[in-house]
Symmetry: C2
C-alpha cells in the first residue's frame, strides 16, 4: 500500500483482509512519502510494516526507484494506492504493470485530478461516485475495475459529498482488490470483464 | 421540439403531455432539419404541427434564423431538442436563453458528442446514463437539470446499452421538462437546484 495521508482506504482494506473478505491476502508493507501521514500509525497499530520514504526534493523517477526497491524486498502481488499524492513514473508502472490499483473519488473519466468531489459539485452533476482502476502512466485514466454511484444532493457541500463517496470507496476497493488478486477478470481493450476465475 | 431522426424522445414527451404528466403543457410545433425524419410522421399522427426546414447547404446561423422565425410564430415556453443533430448558433441560444433543453445519452461531462454509448462502452465504465441539460453555445456542456444512471453490463453492445439508456431518457426528459416549465428550480453557478415552485 502506498499512501500520503490518513489512509482510510488502507484501513478499509486492512479490515477486509482481517475479516476474511479478501481471502489469502496479507498487507505486507505500507509506504508513505510523507513522514507525518496518519496512515503510518494506523498500519503499525495493526502490526503491519510501515515505512516512510520521503519524496521531498527528489525527481519522480529517482524517488520511484527507492519505492520500487522497498517493494521488491516484499514482492507484493498487488500495489494499492490509497490517497497517494504522486503520479507514478513510467519506470514504476513498468515494474508492476497490471498490478497497481488506485481509487479515485469520481466516476472517471469525469473529474480526474485533485478535489474531484468539489469539481463534481461545481459542475452540477446529479450523480458522482468512485472508481477503482489500474494505474498506468496517465493521470486517473487506466482501465476501470469497479465503480460505484453516489447521488449528489442539492444541499451537499464538497465535504458531505466526499464523506458519502468514501463509504462506497471502502466497499468497492476491497471487492476490486479481491477480484484482481483472484485473477477473476480479463482485459479487452480498455474494458475489464469479470470472469469466474483464473483460466 | 427540434429533431433530426426517429424522435423517440419527442414521442415520450408527447405521451407524457397526453397522459397529464406534464400539466398544462402542449407541444405546439415539431421542426426537423431532415425531410425524411420519422419523427415528423409521428407528430402528424398525433395532430401536432410538423415542419421540415432543410438545413442542407446552409450556414449555421442562416439556418438557425429560419428555425427561430418558425418558432417565434408559435412562441414556445420551452424548446426541446430530441436527437437534433446540429449545434445551435449563439444567435439561436440568445433568442431562447435558459429555455432550451437537450438530452444526451451519457452521464455528462463524460462522453459528450456522437456515439456516447459506444464511447462509454469502449472506455470501460461500469455505469453510464443520460443527462437533461440546458443548451448553451457549448457542445453538451450546459447546466444539468437531471441525470439517470444505467449500469453497463459485461455483455453489452453499444446497441443494448443504448436501448437501456433510452428507457431512462424517456423517463427523465418528461420529468425535467415539467420542472423547467413549472419553474421549480434555481441556478447557482452551474448547479440546477430544485425548489418548490415559482417564487
Amino acid at each position: 500500500m502506498l499512501l500520503s495521508g490518513r489512509g482510510s482506504n488502507f484501513v478499509a482494506l486492512a479490515e477486509s483482509v482481517a475479516a476474511g473478505r479478501i481471502p489469502n491476502a496479507e498487507i505486507v508493507l505500507v509506504v508513505s512519502n510523507r513522514e507525518n501521514a496518519p496512515g503510518l500509525e494506523r498500519a503499525r497499530e495493526r502490526g503491519i510494516a510501515a515505512r516512510v520514504i520521503p519524496s521531498k526534493g527528489l525527481e519522480r523517477e529517482a524517488y520511484d526507484r527507492m519505492v520500487v526497491a522497498a517493494l521488491e524486498e516484499v514482492k507484493p502481488e498487488l500495489v494499492c494506492l490509497a490517497g497517494y499524492m504522486r503520479l507514478l513514473s513510467p519506470y514504476f508502472v513498468e515494474q508492476f504493470r497490471g498490478k497497481i490499483l488506485n481509487i479515485h473519488p469520481s466516476l472517471l473519466p469525469a473529474f480526474p485530478g485533485l478535489e474531484a468531489q468539489r469539481q463534481a459539485l461545481e459542475h452540477g452533476v446529479k450523480f458522482s461516485g468512485c472508481t477503482v482502476h489500474f494505474v498506468d502512466e496517465t493521470l486517473d485514466a487506466g482501465a476501470i475495475v469497479m465503480q460505484a454511484v453516489v447521488p449528489v444532493r442539492d444541499a451537499d457541500t464538497p465535504e458531505s459529498l466526499a464523506e458519502r463517496i468514501l463509504d462506497e470507496e471502502h466497499r468497492i476497493y476491497s471487492e476490486a482488490a479481491r477480484i484482481v488478486l483472484e485473477g477473476r477478470y480479463r482485459i479487452e481493450g480498455r474494458r475489464v470483464i469479470l470472469t469466474s476465475g483464473k483460466a
